[in-house]
């Protein structure tokens, strides 16, 4: 008798809201579509929290020498704003889209490891709530999202906030790693037999690459976090210079994680743009292979640029020169992508729907963010401008102009598929204009604030000429963004109350997810069309002029 019993795993009934009764299935469900939506709700919830923190920051900074918020509280707020927006908004939102659409786009019925998928979501959620619990447990983390030592050591931050930061980040990091493992294995094993790895949709490709970035980046952070935790809890002195430790090693660990982290957020966002632009330009993506390969170049180079966060630390000119070179080089593949998206619009037939509007805003604002990023690769400019509001402006142009705009584009684009209802285009345009104008008003002016000398992370500033004016304008912009978000929520609320009416393929798109009902059934595909090209549904719709055949 053999010891093996081959259990065909898919025959087993996995728990899902759609199969059983009872509210407990919200927790037990391992359906990738539902977990994807839960990720998005998580991101939306924390976007509100992080947004309110941002509003508090702008209120405090609106006038000089303001005493609205105490410095201790301000430090907690800006720290939590950064952590929230990066780990609890941008990443869950992108992971949510990927969890929902990656299997759909490659013709799979589930993720490779559905239970691991659910585990990843819940542990991310727990990590997030744990970090916010610190507000009630003696103070939130207050040493910045980068948590530089020795400031975050017991001697200087005795409140437990930093411990919550460490544990929370380790948990969300484990969540991200399990999501990444799932994306990679799913892409490798569950593709429809027709789809070769070099013809997957670009969103899938970038999520796939992103998986490797996550696998390699988070352990570096975790190692540093564990060392810091051992310092704080067991009185070791890894990072305490007065006892033989090093104040610099943490920065290396953190930025060796931190810079790939930027691309961990940017790559899936680029993937969304690469899906949306072609559909609304009615053309295939311009230079598929360059968009795809530049992602690899970005992913590889991302690990050799971290020292540009530390140019002011005082390394020698020799070391700085090489990091300047690699940091400038990483701008080239990124720029190539922008060129290809614009190329996709060339000779197209452009429909200015709400997702496309966000893509246009993305193209403009992300270019600003990318170019101002290059100025930090030019070492002498970095020496003047790092840690000023110029940098704040830069990173918001990358994170909001680059990542959040893509997330909005993806939300409007995929919402019909996820909910079966179309979001109102009229309200969507209101949201777009308020948010984009507000965003540019808030952050464009901060470039100038940084150049005239305002450092970042200060809770108040002296009454110098023009500082108040620019800060007030910036705060007014934040109010616009807030209004835009209120409209988004109103739009979501009213739409979700309507009956399901969205067609299967409202945008006349080409990737496989639009071949399912809106929303898809528990089992995604009963049958899938044969795939010969990168645009399977185009072939079905235009049998007379099929896409470039690859298969």
């Amino acid at each position: 008798m053999s010891l093996f019993i081959n259990i065909p795993e898919d025959s087993e009934q996995l728990p899902s809201l759609k199969t059983g009764q009872g509210k407990l299935l919200w927790i037990a469900s391992v359906d990738h579509k539902q977990i994807g939506i839960m990720y998005l709700w998580l991101a939306l919830f924390f976007f509100v929290v992080g947004g309110l923190e941002a509003m508090l920051i702008r209120a405090q900074l609106a006038i000089p020498e303001n005493t609205l918020i105490s410095p201790e509280l301000y430090n907690q707020i800006f720290t939590m704003h950064g952590i929230t927006m990066i780990f609890l908004v941008a990443m869950p939102a992108l992971v949510g889209f990927a969890t929902y659409f990656l299997p759909l786009m490659i013709g799979a019925n589930e993720m490779a490891f559905p239970r691991l998928n659910a585990f990843g979501f819940w542990i991310t959620l727990m990590g997030g709530f744990l970090m916010y619990f610190s507000f009630f447990a003696g103070g939130a983390p207050n040493a910045g999202w980068f948590n530089y030592v020795p400031l975050s050591e017991n001697n200087y931050s005795s409140a437990p906030g930093v411990d919550y930061y460490i544990i929370g980040l380790i948990l969300t990091g484990i969540g991200s790693i399990s999501a990444a493992l799932n994306f990679i294995t799913t892409t490798l094993t569950l593709r429809s037999p027709d789809i070769k790895l070099n013809m997957v949709p670009l969103f899938v490709w970038m999520v796939f690459i992103n998986g490797f970035l996550i696998l390699a980046a988070f352990p570096l952070l975790n190692a540093g976090l564990f060392m810091l935790l051992i310092d704080r809890q067991f009185d070791a002195h890894f990072f305490i210079p007065s006892s033989g430790g090093s104040a610099i090693l943490w920065q290396h660990f953190f930025w060796a994680f931190g810079h790939p982290e930027v691309y961990i957020m940017a790559l899936p966002a680029f993937g969304i743009i690469s899906e949306v632009v072609p559909v609304f330009s009615r053309k295939p993506i311009f230079g598929y292979k360059f968009v795809a390969v530049s992602s690899i170049a970005i992913a590889l180079l991302a690990y050799s640029v971290w020292l540009h966060h530390m140019f002011a630390v005082g390394y020698s000119n020799t070391v700085n020169s090489f990091f300047a070179i690699s940091s400038m080089l990483i701008g080239i593949p990124t720029g190539l992508k922008v060129i290809n998206w614009i190329g996709t619009m060339y000779k197209g037939s452009i429909q200015l729907t709400v997702p496309m509007l966000f893509v246009v805003a993305f193209l403009i604002d992300f270019t600003i963010g990318g170019l101002s990023g290059v100025s930090f690769a030019i070492v002498p400019i970095d020496w003047q401008l790092t840690d000023t509001y110029y940098l704040v402006a830069h990173l918001h142009y990358v994170f909001v102009g680059g990542v959040i705009f893509s997330i909005f584009a993806g939300l409007y684009y995929w919402f019909p598929k996820m909910s079966g209802r179309m979001l109102s285009a009229k309200l969507g345009k209101w949201h777009f204009w308020l948010f984009v104008i507000g965003f540019n008003l808030t952050f464009l002016i901060q470039h100038i604030l940084g150049i005239i000398g305002m450092p970042r992370r200060i809770y108040t500033y002296p009454d110098l000429p023009n500082w108040e004016l620019m800060n007030v304008l910036s705060s007014i912009g934040a109010v616009f963004m807030f209004a835009g978000m209120v409209i988004l929520f109103w739009n979501l609320y009213t739409t979700l109350k309507k009956p399901r009416s969205a067609p299967e393929d409202p945008w006349d798109a080409w990737t496989l997810e639009w071949h399912t009902p809106s929303p898809p059934d528990l089992k995604n595909f009963g049958e899938i069309p044969r795939v010969y090209s990168r645009r399977p549904l185009w072939d079905l719709k235009h049998p007379d002029k099929p896409d470039k055949r690859l298969n």
Partner: protein, 303 residues
């Protein structure tokens, strides 16, 4: 002799960058909007021509990008070498030590020790040694030179150059705790003669007044354990935890350049430090009004 200052070098590089970046940005904006209007979907449009890409364009644009990168790499390295040309055996003119949340300055040549208001001579490249006593700070006076971190356990050097006399403002640029915002810098550039006389004046011993209030203040200063943190030259008290107060009254600002040094602010500070500068290391001693009077009289005569 005409000399390009470090700041001018960096500014020049920044302007080059702005020009190139501006051109690229305008090109992107132009093409996005031009295509947006030109290829906007008409009512009865058919599917447009399906273009998959253009390899020549991609390669030539990559080549252009690499060329621009090469030029800026050269400019970066060139400027970097000019701005940060620290000799092998540096002999700093002034050593600045960052504390939470104030600055200490020591002049090795003369032995002057002061806090927060840092004097340098005009028209002379001054080498500064940067250290930190607790957490990471960052020295930045934008008009005088580059930014440089102050890291505990590591010594960094930076050049400062002021071409005309005046007061230059800067701030700590690395987040360093509750009063990061209250850690501002004021560098005072003096003409050579004024600088020398300032140095002389700083080296003089503390004036002793016969005023009973002054005497009472002096006694209080010791009794109330102020001396556990603050040093005053010429007395047995040399603790360096807090700013050296020997010539406190000669400074125009105090508390890390947060407040103007006048009697009103000093009084408020002594009454409740946490109210004036929340988070500051100075504890609240709960002085009575009389004690504050005496201490203010004492401290304000430390010239």
């Amino acid at each position: 002799m005409f000399q390009t200052t470090n700041v001018e070098l960096i500014d020049k590089l920044f302007i080059y960058f702005l020009v190139v970046a501006g051109i690229i940005f305008l090109l992107v904006v132009f093409f996005v909007f031009y295509y947006l209007f030109k290829y906007r979907r008409k009512q009865t449009a058919e599917e447009p021509e399906q273009i998959h890409g253009n390899e020549k364009l991609e390669y030539s644009l990559t080549a252009v990008a690499i060329l621009i990168t090469g030029i800026f790499t050269y400019l970066t390295i060139d400027t970097m070498r000019k701005v940060q040309d620290i000799p092998d055996n540096p002999e700093p003119f002034v050593q600045i030590i960052g504390h939470q949340w104030w600055w200490e300055a020591q002049y090795p040549e003369t032995g002057v020790i002061t806090a927060n208001e840092i004097h340098i001579p005009v028209g002379k490249k001054v080498l500064v040694q940067l250290n930190s006593d607790d957490v990471i700070h960052s020295w930045w006076v934008a008009q005088l030179g580059r930014k440089m971190d102050m890291i505990p356990g590591i010594t960094n050097y930076v050049w400062l150059y002021a071409d005309k006399p005046g007061e230059y403002l800067g701030t700590c640029s690395e987040f360093c705790g509750a009063q990061h915002a209250g850690m501002r810098i004021r560098v005072i550039a003096d003409e050579e003669r004024a600088f020398n006389s300032w140095s002389q004046q700083q080296l003089e011993p503390v004036a002793q007044l016969d005023d009973p209030l002054f005497k009472k203040g002096e006694k209080l200063f010791e009794e109330k354990t102020c001396t556990n943190c603050h040093a005053i030259n010429g007395t047995p008290f040399t603790m360096k935890v807090g700013p050296n107060l020997t010539h406190f009254a000669s400074r125009k600002h105090f508390l890390g350049d947060l407040k103007v040094n006048n009697e009103e602010n000093l009084r408020a500070w002594l009454h409740d430090p946490q109210n004036v500068k929340p988070g500051a290391k100075m504890p609240n001693f709960i002085f009575s009004d009389q004690e504050v009077d005496a201490l203010v009289e004492y401290i304000n005569n430390l010239k």
